[in-house]
């Protein structure tokens, strides 16, 4: 395993940050009318994931899925268009929590814990067809208490499925602190099944990359699943609009301070390593421009056709009778 390229990681994280900010802004403009969960503060995990993933791998994500989709290489314009309720990835029917892409293979679900069984099934199908391929099942710290996740770990261990259970531990499930909801250490959750666990600093791409390394290697070589827990912090409320009164101000200030913010921290590190400031500024500017370009492109994607709102329930339209009267 080679090391992660930190300059590249910085560029990408800058894009991720801008991407999520743009989506947040679209909530304010009313282009998004539903619930919206952003991954700001969690970019280091996604960028390390990106460095591990092959285009043929699959990711099954959660209600906070955007950065994982980008990490896998899902078309950002189609993604953004879907988030903006246009005919994007899912034709405007899925929206932010229900993103689906066939190539690369990405999906997510709004039901906490429900990704894990789906990921096992994906891995099962691919295990023989395409050995060496990995399926990543993402979960939050809160989601790790859902029965579906435990059952999936047992199944994945038994069937040696090439699954990486990636837990983004941002310390909260909505307002509920990890220690209120979660007994023990999350990285130990796989141990009863013989699944190795790796805890890491989820604000440092290098640390996440190092933790993901053995997990991916194990999966690719057919030895079965792993658990990786990356500790981080969400910078926004649980959803856009959340008053977020439940997290202490001091805690927030601390995690979001420059020395801990994954982005500014990496920037400082690169600076210290001698990367010229202009180069980093250029990366920021490029990220800004890239996301602006995607946004413009996404905004030109047409809205879904209301006349086809009842299509896609079944393969054949009208397989179930419509509204009467």
């Amino acid at each position: 395993m080679t090391a992660i390229d930190l300059a590249d990681a910085y560029r990408t994280m800058a894009v991720y940050r801008r991407f999520e900010e743009a989506v947040g802004a679209a909530v304010v403009t009313g282009e998004v009318h539903g619930e919206m969960h952003l991954g700001i503060g969690q970019e280091a995990i996604a960028v390390a994931l990106r460095a591990m993933l092959e285009p043929t791998d699959a990711v099954v994500s959660t209600h906070r899925p955007h950065l994982h989709a980008l990490a896998l290489g899902v078309d950002p314009v189609a993604l953004l268009a879907e988030l903006l309720e246009r005919s994007g990835l899912s034709g405007g029917k899925g929206g932010h929590m229900h993103l689906f892409s066939r190539d690369p293979q990405f999906m997510c679900t709004g039901i906490v814990g429900a990704s894990a069984p789906l990921a096992c099934g994906d891995a099962l199908a691919q295990q023989r067809r395409d050995p060496g391929r990995v399926t990543v099942a993402v979960a939050g710290d809160g989601s790790m208490n859902q029965g579906a996740v435990f059952e999936s770990m047992n199944l994945a261990a038994l069937w040696r499925l090439p699954v990486v259970f990636l837990c983004e531990d941002n310390g909260y499930g909505i307002s509920v602190r990890r220690d209120v909801a979660t007994a023990g250490q999350l990285a130990d959750r796989g141990t009863p099944f013989g699944i190795p666990g790796h805890a890491c600093d989820g604000t440092d791409p290098e640390a996440v990359y190092a933790a993901l390394g053995p997990a991916f290697e194990r999966a690719r070589s057919g030895d079965g699943p792993s658990v990786v827990v990356a500790t981080c912090y969400r910078f926004r409320g649980h959803y856009e609009g959340d008053a977020d009164t439940y997290r202490p101000k001091g805690e927030k200030d601390d995690w979001m301070s420059a020395p801990r913010d994954p982005l500014s921290r990496l920037r400082a590190r690169l600076e210290a390593a001698g990367v010229p400031v202009v180069e980093l500024d250029a990366a920021d500017a490029a990220a800004e421009a890239e996301v602006a370009g995607w946004l413009e492109a996404a905004r030109s994607v047409p809205f879904p056709d209301v006349d086809r709102v009842r299509d896609d329930v079944y393969a054949a339209p009208g397989a179930r009778q419509g509204v009467r009267a």
Binding site: E85, G92, Q146, G147, A181, Y246, V309, Q321, V323
Partner: protein, 341 residues
């Protein structure tokens, strides 16, 4: 028809106040669920309960619906009266065994020896969060014998039916429509006078909120409010539409429904739960079985697809005042005997 005056509270506040009063009255009432303690509920319906009643009676749970809904049942069987929150009803699928096989059947399977007096509160309906966070699923519960299902349509009933639910000796599913939780009571088409303390509202007694003539609209939950708006609009066109609020799907006031239907020329059932194998069919069948050739024209207007994300798509499938009015209009103008081709 709104008697709330300038009351600035919304439904979630009324729920919280009612829970407060009941916890005060009965020390065996406890409240548990995700985000109910520290946050006071994602809609605020359990606000300030922990401050008053402490950690012992107001419990934040892990995201483990099977464990904590099951624990509520076990605690109820052991003598407590838990009010357990299933944040969104869409999540029933992860804990439905505890609901359908344990909660609903404990009394029957024990020959009456064991009871499970608890309330499962859950937020239902579409406020724009697509297919997995917008469902109603009232019929999924109502189909299972042993559960009672209350679905309040107004602020007064949010209080009154909740009182009855908590005091009831059977498990009660209490469905709180998100629009009812979020909307200020003074801004609703219909609200009772809330100045007096709440009285318990008996289960199984529907109410007529508006007299009709040409068509009677039967609904539950927030659809009742929309039906009232629709009726208002129809009146301007010269169509007299009555509105009937079912209030509880179980027990269902079948006699009341038949009485209302017998007095109507046409009956439209409106539901933001799925159209098939649900409340629409149950209400229409109840009327048709009882009245035979004396039944009015019967029709339904309800959700028939998963809820899409895009706003315009959503509006095209979720019943609204406009779509209800259109459905009622269509029914009134339709001929009495309509056989499909």
């Amino acid at each position: 028809m709104n008697a709330a005056g300038s009351d600035r509270r919304n439904g979630s506040q009324l729920v919280a106040e009612t829970l407060h009063a009941e916890m005060d009255r009965d020390p065996s009432v406890i409240v548990l669920g995700e985000d109910v303690a520290e946050l006071g509920g994602v809609f605020g319906a359990t606000r300030r309960l922990r401050r008053t009643y402490g950690d012992e009676r107001v419990l934040d749970t892990p995201i483990s619906e099977t464990a904590f809904v099951g624990a509520a049942i076990g605690a109820a069987q052991a003598g407590l009266r838990p009010v357990v929150e299933l944040m969104f009803v869409d999540f029933l699928g992860v804990c439905f065994d505890q609901i359908m096989n344990q909660m609903a059947k404990a009394r029957y399977m024990s020959g009456g020896a064991v009871t499970a007096p608890l309330v499962l509160r859950s937020a239902v309906g579409c406020i724009g969060a697509a297919a997995q966070h917008s469902q109603v699923l009232s019929a999924t519960f109502a189909h299972i014998p042993g559960l009672k299902v209350a679905f309040p349509a107004s602020p007064g009933d949010l209080r009154g039916l909740l009182l009855t639910a908590i005091r009831d000796d059977d498990p009660v599913i209490f469905l709180e429509h998100k629009w009812l939780l979020k909307t200020r009571v003074a801004e609703l088409p219909f609200c009772e006078d809330l100045s007096e303390p709440a009285d318990a509202v008996p289960f199984g007694e529907l109410r007529r909120l508006r007299d009709g003539g040409d068509v009677t609209i039967v609904a539950a939950g927030f659809m009742v409010q929309l039906a009232l708006t629709a009726a208002e609009a129809l009146e301007a066109e010269g169509i007299r539409a009555g509105v009937v609020d079912v209030r509880t799907l179980v027990p269902l006031d079948r006699e009341g429904l038949v009485r209302e239907a017998a007095a109507a020329d046409a009956l439209l059932v409106v539901d933001d739960d799925y159209a098939d194998y649900g409340m629409c069919g149950e209400v229409i069948a109840t009327v048709a079985e009882a009245l035979g050739r004396g039944a009015p024209r019967l029709a339904r207007h309800a959700l028939d697809v998963p809820i899409p994300a895009n706003r315009a798509l959503e509006e095209a499938v979720v019943p609204s005042a406009a779509s209800i009015a259109a459905a009622a209009r269509g029914l009134v103008s339709a001929s009495a005997a309509q056989v499909p081709a």
